[in-house]
Symmetry: C2
Subunit: 168 residues, 2 copies
Amino acid sequence: MSVKSRTGAGRRFVLKPIGIVHSPFREPTDIPRDMNRLPRAFTKVRGALEIFPEYAEGLKDVGAFSHLIVTFAFHKSTGAKLLSKPPGETRFRGVFSTRSPHRPNALGLTVVKLASRKENILAVSGIDMVEGTPILDIKPYTARDRKSGIRTGWIRGRRVPAPPRANR
Amino acid sequence: MSVKSRTGAGRRFVLKPIGIVHSPFREPTDIPRDMNRLPRAFTKVRGALEIFPEYAEGLKDVGAFSHLIVTFAFHKSTGAKLLSKPPGETRFRGVFSTRSPHRPNALGLTVVKLASRKENILAVSGIDMVEGTPILDIKPYTARDRKSGIRTGWIRGRRVPAPPRANR
C-alpha cells in the first residue's frame, strides 16, 4: 500500500468563505510590487474583515488579541506554478519558498493587527489583500507563532534583526 | 445586491493535499491537553513533512529559511462549533479566538523549524499535528510574520514577554 493511499492523498477538502476582506487595494495591480519586499510596508494599511452573520458568534473573545492570522483564498490566482520569479528577483524560486498567489492550493495568509470589533466587522491594519478577498479562517496569533532567530533565505539572505525596542 | 452575492460568498474552494505530516503523535489523544497551553511545549517534537513527488520542485530554496508555516487539514475534525471550551478552560470561547480543530473550515496552522531537507522530505521540529495529517500548503516564515508587543487574550491575559536573549 502506498503512502498516498494509506493516508488519503486522493482526498479533497471543500472550503467555503466565512467572510470577505475590505481593502483599499481594488486589484492586485494596485499593490506596488516592491512593497512585498519591505517588512513594514503594509503595517499602516487599514481595512476590515467582514465576517458573515452566521459565523459572528465565533468572533467572541477575539477582541482580547492584538493580532489575528487570516487565511484567505487567492481568488484571482490564475493557476499554480511550482517555480516563479518574485517581484524584483531575477531567479526562479520554488513556490513553497515564496508567498506567491499561484500555488497548488491558492491559500493566502496574513497576520493583521486588530484595531476594534463592531459586531461582525473587525477593523484591522496590515492589509495586503485586495477588496473582496474571501476569508477562510481567522486564528489568534499567539506566543507560539512568534519565532526568534529567523533566517529568511533569498528574501534577505541573513538573519533578521530584532525590532528596535521602541516598537515593542 | 447583497455583499454576499457581490463578492461570491457562495463560491467553494476545493483543496487537495500536497503531502503528509509524519509525527510521533499517532492520534489526537496522544497529545497531552495541557501541552497546548505552553508556548514552548512542542519546540522539540520532531517529525517530517513528506511532500508528494509531483510538488517537490516547489521546494526549491526552502532550505534557506529557518521556519516554515504549514497549513494543514484537521482531517479528524468532527465538525464546526462556533463556541468551544479550550483545554483547561472553564468558559466557552469563540472558535476564531482558539486554535480548535472544530472550525467552519477545518484548517490548521503550525510554524515549524526546518532542520534539513532530503529531496521531498523536510525534517522539522515543532510538530503538533498527528501522523498522516494532510498538508495543504507550505510558506516561508518571514519578518512580516514576526509580531512584537502581542496580546494573547484569554490565553494569558497580558503581554507576552520577549524571549530571553540567549534564545535569539
